[in-house]
């Protein structure tokens, strides 16, 4: 089976949140609470254990005459549907001590709910703040990439529901290419601020949920340089080894002095 991926194209997203609901319906996840945030129309705030797809709303200056498809300025209202990135090198996957998190044959990073023990080490290992422990249930949850559906050859629920094909689902390399072509196409249409978010040059080595956005990805809470925490490990273990050695030496030395 080839590696599958999402390409979430913000220039086609109408912010309807169908993905968010379709995801919750299919995966039978509970609501997030009924808090009004005042952050434009975004009341679910971020992906987490009970929100696996999440639509972000970004407001920019408005000008009479200009719709969001105009290239003259950033769209006055931008939407982008966030999701687990299913990183090429995934922090959560590396960190999981139980083997609960696995890489499926189609590349998804999947938390096996029957194994996860809720150690929540994955929570602090995700550079995108995706995976989260459900405190009531005691286990960690995140987007499964609809692995149950994918196993049967079905598209993930969010991509299927998306009314405007803003969420494309398909082969990773094909979508990577498509994203580049789309940026070129937008260029040709006079939209010069479109970018593809796919951190290939960081230790994450690319993601399986690509995003096409207009403007700075940081407005959409996407980090410029996400790093997999394992990159820090070498330094850490070296330093731990030295510390252990020094500690052993110092102890021996201290007691050696007491030898009669």
């Amino acid at each position: 089976m080839s590696t599958t991926a999402f390409l979430t194209d913000s220039t086609l997203c109408i912010g309807c949140k169908a993905c968010e609901v379709a995801c919750k319906e299919w995966n039978q996840i509970s609501e997030d609470g009924y808090e009004w945030s005042g952050h434009s129309y975004d009341n679910t705030q971020a992906v987490g254990h009970s929100t696996w797809r999440h639509v972000k709303f970004v407001e920019n200056p408005v000008e009479i005459g200009l719709g969001g498809n105009s290239g003259e300025q950033l769209p006055a209202w931008g939407f982008s549907s966030d999701v687990c990135k299913h990183c090429e090198v995934a922090g959560c996957l590396e960190a999981c001590p139980t083997g609960a998190i696995v890489r499926m044959e189609f590349g998804a990073v999947f938390v096996q709910p029957d194994v996860c023990n809720g150690c929540s080490y994955c929570v602090v290992s995700c550079p995108f703040g995706v995976v989260q422990k459900n405190e009531e249930d005691g286990r960690a949850f995140k987007c499964t990439f609809c692995s149950d559906r994918q196993k049967a050859g079905l598209a993930p629920a969010c991509a299927k529901a998306c009314p405007t094909e803003s969420i494309k689902f398909g082969n990773l390399e094909e979508l990577r290419l498509e994203a580049q072509l789309r940026v070129k196409e937008l260029e040709a249409r006079g939209i010069h601020d479109a970018v593809v978010y796919d951190p290939l040059d960081t230790s994450v080595k690319g993601i399986h949920a690509l995003f096409l956005l207009r403007g700075d990805p940081r407005s959409y809470n996407l980090p410029p340089h996400p790093e997999v925490p394992t990159t820090y490990m070498k330094k850490g273990w070296t330093s731990a080894a030295i510390a252990a050695g020094v500690m052993l030496g110092a102890t021996l030395l201290a007691f050696l002095g007491e030898r009669r």
Binding site: A18, V102, V115, A161, C162
Partner: protein, 186 residues
């Protein structure tokens, strides 16, 4: 026995395969056999009950129970897609706040009480009959009127065409009710 037991320990499989603990060697039976819960379900072809676009829906059901509601990819209108409301149709039909019992409120009462459905139907028929008897006008100025204005109907525009047909036929054609209205104006 023991080797078999040991082979169920992912660590052993990990050592055998040389895996790094993220692949098939650590997957459980559940993960290996994962599949959509719509597997083996029956499918009814349906239409979204929310707005007027009329998106196609597939209703998956098993043993007289709903399993899932999804867009119908064959629909030339919606091509399998749904909006957030349409995508939430399953919850619409299964949420815990849906009423499943008749509720009756006596005049001047401060609370609901239970009522049997058939009894309720009889009582409603009695009320309709009494109000109609009292208010029905057969003629006015020697011209046929055949009308009652004492009973009204207000229908939602999510009622089926067949339902509307029966309502109009019985209420207007049979009972002579003229105060029959609907969300649909234009």
């Amino acid at each position: 026995m023991l080797p078999k037991l040991l082979s169920r320990w992912p660590l052993v499989r990990q050592i055998q395969t040389g895996g790094d603990g993220t692949g098939p060697e650590v997957m459980t039976e559940r993960t290996h056999t994962l599949g959509p819960r719509t597997n083996g379900a029956q499918v009814a072809r349906s239409v979204c009950p929310y707005c007027g676009v009329g998106c196609g829906q597939l209703i998956f059901h098993k043993d007289n129970k709903l399993v899932s509601i999804e867009g119908d990819p064959e629909s030339p209108i919606s091509r399998g897609r749904l909006c957030p409301k349409g995508a939430d149709s399953f919850e619409l039909l299964t949420h815990p706040h849906r009423e499943l019992k008749v509720k009756y409120r006596r005049p001047f009462s401060t609370d609901w009480e239970d009522l049997d459905l058939e009894v309720a139907m009889d009582m409603i028929a009695d009320r309709v009959w009494k109000s109609r008897e009292k208010s029905f006008v057969e003629t006015q100025d020697g011209q046929s009127l055949m009308q009652t204005k004492a009973i009204g109907h207000l229908g939602g525009a999510t009622l089926d065409n067949e339902e509307n047909y029966l309502i109009k036929k019985l209420f207007t054609g049979g009972l002579g009710m003229v105060c029959v209205s609907n969300q649909a104006r234009i």
